[in-house]
Amino acid sequence: MEHDARALAQAVAADEARRASRWQLRFRLGWGVLIALLAGFVLVSLNVEIDFIARATPFILEGIWITLIVSASSITLATFLAAVGALGRLSSNAIVNAVASFYVSFFRGTPLILQLLVWYLALPQVGIILDPIFCAIGALGMNYGAYMTEIFRAGIQAVPLGQREAAAALGMSSRTAFLRIVAPQAFRIIVPAIGNDFVAMLKDSALASTVALQEIVWRARNVGQKEFKTLQTFIIAAMIYWALTILFSTFQNRIEKRLAAGDRNKESKG
């Protein structure tokens, strides 16, 4: 009997493994087919000109630096604003809270592209003329900061009340309790969200092409329009963004895994 049970368990496990590997195979096959279709579409319908692509690609690739600089600066600004904004939203001071919630409401309530155009086109009207790169960083940073304020606030509030009570009962001031007990725990909740927003920011930075910033999309449009080959150049640009996104998502996964490894606490209770 015991032997039979073990044999049965082994057979079930083997069957499960077989099904899992078949699933993996089909999954990869699916991806393969889709990529082949995409590549086929590009190759056949685009009338590939290696010569042109070889000329255009390095020019477009140079835009990566602007894209990365704008994205990194904007996410830094946004993180700072979100930290201040979240503290404001959680403040017991009514005026501070009003300022913070006004900021969130206004910058979330209006289109990002409109905000960017205000920085670039409208501010000069009142005598404020900024370099396009600062317009882009300002607009993206302020806008993302508003969204991230809510994420940070939620992250701070996700730390159980008991943590604050325990800190208070140990004689900690609310400031010490926040810095030493609440903030480190909130940080672990918030980090994945910052990573997500950075990946989103990488792509939203393409909006900066509208303010003549020579990032990837601007370059793809300009080099393409000259020879009426924007289909080719836009596909190149798309591939660059896609590659960047995959790269950073992998990187982000790794950071999250490491954070999770250091964080042996999966329960909300201490």
Binding site: L170, G171, T176, R180, N265, K269, G270
Partner: protein
């Protein structure tokens, strides 16, 4: 309350036991009354007329009153030893080494010396609560406040926590314990308070309040424990 006394507060859920206990270190804002611990006096201030100076006194008070919660409330991002020395170092300004020596002494007392560098999530409920007790003790408080310390534990883990608490009571710690553990109250308490609807219905030594209650509310409450097959 006298130094060295152990007081247990009994009563059904919602009778105000925890609220009373939490008012003693101002985790709840009492509407009336005065709390004095070891010379530090803080009065109720329901209309928030007093300012920062009162808050400072509340913190002084809390340094003298160690609290153990029902849900342990250990800091999950810190190891056991870090949990214990966090407040001594960052509130009292104690030297970290010195604080660790004190913490190790109390970890030994609760029987968890070897768990010094573990994180709370790797401990059982009973172990967590014992760490919470060691954490409170490391602040070297004048009085320990226990808020239903065994109510969140598996029945099999209650004993190890009660044993630590009984040891503390017998070595002359000043303790106020909100609990449903009749046997513990009977064995360790110098005085028992029975609470009903926010007031003390009956007060006295455990032999009197638990074994021979006079107040009808206390009688009724205790009769439930007997019908549930308690040893007493």
């Amino acid at each position: 309350m006298w130094p060295g006394e152990t007081v247990c507060i009994l009563g059904r859920s919602g009778s105000g036991k925890s609220t009373f206990l939490r008012s003693l270190n101002f985790l709840e804002d009492p509407t009336d009354g005065v709390v004095e611990i070891d010379g530090v006096v803080v009065a109720a201030d329901p209309f928030h007329k007093e300012g920062k100076e009162r808050q400072a006194r509340i913190q002084e008070l809390r340094l003298r009153a160690g609290m153990v919660f029902q849900e342990f409330n250990l800091f999950p991002h810190l190891s056991v030893i870090e949990n214990c020395v966090e407040a001594p170092v960052h509130v009292k300004g104690m030297d970290r080494k010195e604080a660790e020596v004190i913490a190790e002494k109390y970890l030994a007392k609760v029987g968890l010396s070897e768990k010094r560098d573990e994180y709370p999530s790797r401990l059982s409920g009973g172990q967590r609560q014992r760490v919470a007790i060691a954490r409170a003790l490391t602040m070297q408080p004048k009085v320990l406040l226990f808020d239903e310390p065994t109510s969140a534990l598996d029945p099999t883990l209650v004993g190890e926590v009660l044993k630590v608490m009984a040891d503390l009571a017998h070595e002359g710690r000043t303790m106020i314990v909100v609990t449903h553990e009749m046997d513990f109250a009977h064995e360790a308490a110098d005085r028992v308070y029975y609470m009903d609807q926010g007031e003390f219905a009956e007060v006295g030594p455990p032999e009197q309040v638990i074994d021979a209650p006079k107040d009808p509310r206390t009688k009724e409450f205790l009769s439930r424990f007997r019908t549930l097959g308690s040893k007493k």
